[in-house]
């Protein structure tokens, strides 16, 4: 292939992040799950972060505990997702008449989001996530009130959940379980952004993920909520993501992968539980944002100089 002489190119052989050699007697230990099976990790959710968009939200699952090691490599990944909603805006003149709101969702991993660099071009897995997200949101948006309009939901994953333990075997990373946690986060953050944009919705949709993990010695798998795939390296047998509407008890989106056996229905129930827990945070965030918008925040004793984004922790209740 001819060298491209018009630009300053990257090194021809590709680049890789620096890898530091470990001391010979370093023991690498995989972090195991210390939470209870029905306990969700702490979430952070805030709306209104992008002032130029109609609505926006930021979702984060921060690393739960700092593991002390001598390695410079970060042990666990966290999940950071940001979403902007542009719309409803009129369709271009030459577009066909559409009696409903045309929702278009785009999910993109930032190139630095995963341990192995992803490219700028959207690949098949990101388009697949976009299709799932659209299914989840289409059920909740009342499209018939916005004819001839389009709405664009753009989700950027700044740091994605890993598929397995970074130092584990390649087999442990098969299955793509990290994508399911990312999808659950995308559903929640898109829902917050839609509310921030003021688009008519039937209910708040929240995303929840649950998994069937190989039990210790037993044949029956253990059902866990909010699995972190790096904690269950290669042990996840099946997982399920749902987009759940709590007040109507309906599921707009469901994606189940793997062999759940007899526990398929229980797996769905666990995922719904996870979604309900996430909804508590979502509802609180949306309420705070509404209060600030309506000006009630100024009258009450919320000190402005405490800093943006400082809010009380919400206890997640089912």
């Amino acid at each position: 292939m001819q060298a491209d002489r018009r630009r300053l190119n990257a090194p021809a052989g590709g680049t890789a992040p620096p890898v530091f050699a470990a001391l010979p007697n370093t023991k690498l230990q995989r972090q195991t799950r210390t939470r209870k099976p029905d306990e969700h990790r702490k979430l952070f959710l805030q709306t209104g972060i992008v002032p130029s968009a109609s609505g926006s939200a930021y979702y984060e699952i921060p690393p739960q505990s700092q593991q002390q090691t001598e390695l410079l490599v970060p042990q666990t990944s966290s999940l950071k997702i940001t979403c902007t909603v542009h719309g409803p805006r009129p369709l271009p003149r030459n577009a066909a008449f559409s009696p409903n709101l045309l929702l278009s969702t785009h999910v993109k991993f930032a190139p630095f989001a995963t341990r192995n660099r992803r490219g700028y071009v959207r690949d098949a897995s990101e388009r697949d996530l976009g299709a799932h997200l659209e299914t989840a949101l289409r059920g909740v948006v009342i499209g018939e009130r916005f004819p001839k309009s389009g709405c664009e939901v753009v989700v950027t994953v700044l740091e994605g959940e890993e598929d397995g333990w970074w130092a584990g075997s390649a087999e442990g990373k098969e299955g793509g379980w990290g994508m399911m946690s990312v999808l659950a986060g995308c559903i929640t953050v898109a829902s917050a952004a839609l509310v921030d944009a003021g688009i008519d919705c039937v209910d708040l949709v929240s995303g929840g993920v649950a998994a069937v993990v190989h039990g210790a010695g037993g044949k029956d798998g253990v059902l866990v909520l909010d699995p972190a795939p790096s904690e269950h390296d290669g042990e996840i047998r099946a997982a399920c993501v749902v987009g759940y509407l709590q007040s109507r008890d309906e599921v707009t989106e469901m994606w189940m992968k793997g062999d759940a056996g007899m526990q398929a229905e229980q797996l769905i129930d666990e995922a719904v539980k996870a979604a309900s827990l996430a909804r508590a945070v979502l509802a609180e965030t949306v309420k705070e944002a509404a209060e600030i918008k309506l000006g009630k925040g100024d009258e009450s004793a919320v000190p402005v100089n405490e800093g943006k984004g400082k809010s009380k922790d919400v206890v997640m209740t089912g």
Binding site: A16, S125, E174, M254
Partner: protein, 473 residues
């Protein structure tokens, strides 16, 4: 996104409301009179592509047609480029090199493996060795529909973890499986069940050349295609089969299988369920995904009270909106809102996976296709003219209205071309050949709920007439 040149007229709110109401009755009244679990007849052909490792073609009753070709190529496995290799330590080695996957399971891999031995226990294969490409006329490669379908079918294929292990040759080489799915007709209805069934049949007949080299040397294969092994071996101990994906929809409380395009247009919820067979000959669920029902894109009906065509003036928009919201769902069409009830999801999955459920029926029917091909080939090899005559007679007395079966069309000429078997058993005179039209019709008894009638195969028959001329001298 629909293709640009789609000329299908959207259904009006009155038509949608009519379809929805008739499907919500108990039992549901479907436009073509089928029962809720009845499938439409189809024509299935295997080994249609002589240069592919496996191939199949299925035509559905509504005119949609798909061809799948499976090709395998030997590929070099990337070597382990680790910089620190220590056999004694437990330290995981970190791999350098841009974009490379993480290290191979040398030290971590199954507990029974020796460190640094290079032998692999479980987890020999990688899921990336299966590559799928779906071609749907009118859609680009990166449009939502082909990507979603491809992800769904690949997911089901690699979910049991066994296929990839059969693609492993030795430490340096592996098979790369290319599955190319072509939808030959324009996508009149959601093409997933068609594509998935065709892939299932193609994979069932896929054969890999037999390996004659040993261990880690450069792979050499037996030139004789007869010695080729099936990718999905059919032994008595293991019934491994490729998965099948079914489309299930619900309207109200009714659950309907194999929906046609009109029925999908009024669905409240649509689910795709992928199922596979376990070694203990039970069914297992491989993946479930919800599909956005196209009914959400339809226009809501205009109630008479707000319709200005009656001569009155239309109320302002806010009022019209409130009037529409207050109207009863059943009297006026409105696109569905919200999702599906959890109990309904559970019921749908149960109906597919249960013993003697729909899933088992479909898999049995497809098994019948396979068995029929085997019998035809054995008959040709045994030069069994008796069976041939019997089949010919059966074909003469074949009347469309009295038959209740799944029809399988096999092409002995093609199998002969593939396997080098002589097809002269069937050809006595040129007239015989042209009358028989190179077909073997094999009756397969199916269960009550698969109910078919004979399809018109004129187009296919005209197609076949010319290759046959070549074989006659």
């Amino acid at each position: 996104m629909p293709p640009q040149y789609s000329t299908a007229l959207p259904l009006s709110p009155a038509e949608l409301s009519y379809l929805h109401t008739s499907l919500s009755f108990d039992p549901p009244i479907r436009p073509d009179g089928r029962t809720a679990t009845q499938f439409r007849p189809l024509i299935a052909e295997t080994d249609v592509l002589p240069s592919a490792n496996g191939s199949a073609r299925i035509c559905f009753a509504d005119g949609t047609e798909a061809v799948v070709g499976v090709k395998c190529e030997v590929e070099r496995s990337p070597s382990d480029r680790s910089i620190l290799r220590s056999k004694e330590d437990d330290v995981k080695r970190l791999v350098t090199g841009g974009g490379d996957e993480e290290m191979r399971d040398e030290s971590s891999g199954g507990e029974d493996d020796e460190v640094g031995n290079g032998s692999r226990g479980r987890g020999e294969g990688r899921n990336e060795w299966v590559e799928m490409a779906i071609e749907i006329p009118g859609y680009r490669d990166d449009d939502a529909l082909p990507v979603f379908l491809s992800a769904m079918i690949t997911e089901a294929l690699v979910s049991d973890g066994e296929l990839k292990n059969r693609l492993y040759i030795n430490q340096r080489f592996h098979w790369r499986l290319y599955i190319d799915i072509l939808l030959l007709s324009s996508p009149l209805s959601y093409p997933l069940p068609l594509l998935s069934l065709t892939t299932h049949l193609a994979l069932l007949r896929t054969r890999l050349p037999a390996l004659v080299s040993e261990k880690d040397e450069d792979p050499h294969f037996n030139d004789d295609w007869e010695a080729a092994t099936l990718l999905y071996p059919q032994s008595d101990q293991t019934t491994t089969r490729p998965p099948v994906t079914l489309l299930v929809m619900s309207v109200g409380d009714n659950i309907i299988f194999d929906p046609s395009k009109d029925e999908l247009a009024v669905a409240d919820a649509v689910l795709t369920v992928s199922i596979g067979k376990t070694p203990s000959s039970g069914l297992r669920l491989l993946s479930v995904r919800t599909v956005d029902p196209p009914s959400r894109l339809t226009a809501p009906g205009v109630p008479n009270s707000t319709n200005s065509a009656n001569g009155d003036t239309a109320p302002p928009m806010q009022e019209a909106l409130m009037l529409r919201e207050a109207m009863d769902e059943h009297s006026l069409w409105r696109p569905p809102r919200g999702g599906m009830k959890r109990a309904l999801v559970g019921r749908m999955i149960k109906m597919v996976v249960d013993k003697n459920g729909v899933g088992e029926e479909v898999l049995e029917g497809l098994e019948g296709v396979d068995k029929a091909l085997e019998e035809c080939i054995t008959a040709i090899e045994a030069k069994d003219t008796e069976t041939a005559k019997q089949w010919e007679q059966e074909r003469e007395t074949y009347t469309p209205t009295t038959i209740d079966e799944l029809i399988v069309m096999l092409n002995p000429i093609n199998t002969a071309l593939n396997g080098g078997r002589s097809s002269r058993v069937w050809m006595r005179t040129k007239d015989d050949v042209l009358n028989l039209k190179h077909r073997v019709v094999r009756r397969i008894a199916a269960s009550d709920t698969i109910n078919n009638f004979l399809m018109d195969m004129w187009a296919a028959e005209v197609h076949r007439a010319s290759p046959s001329e070549v074989w006659l001298n």
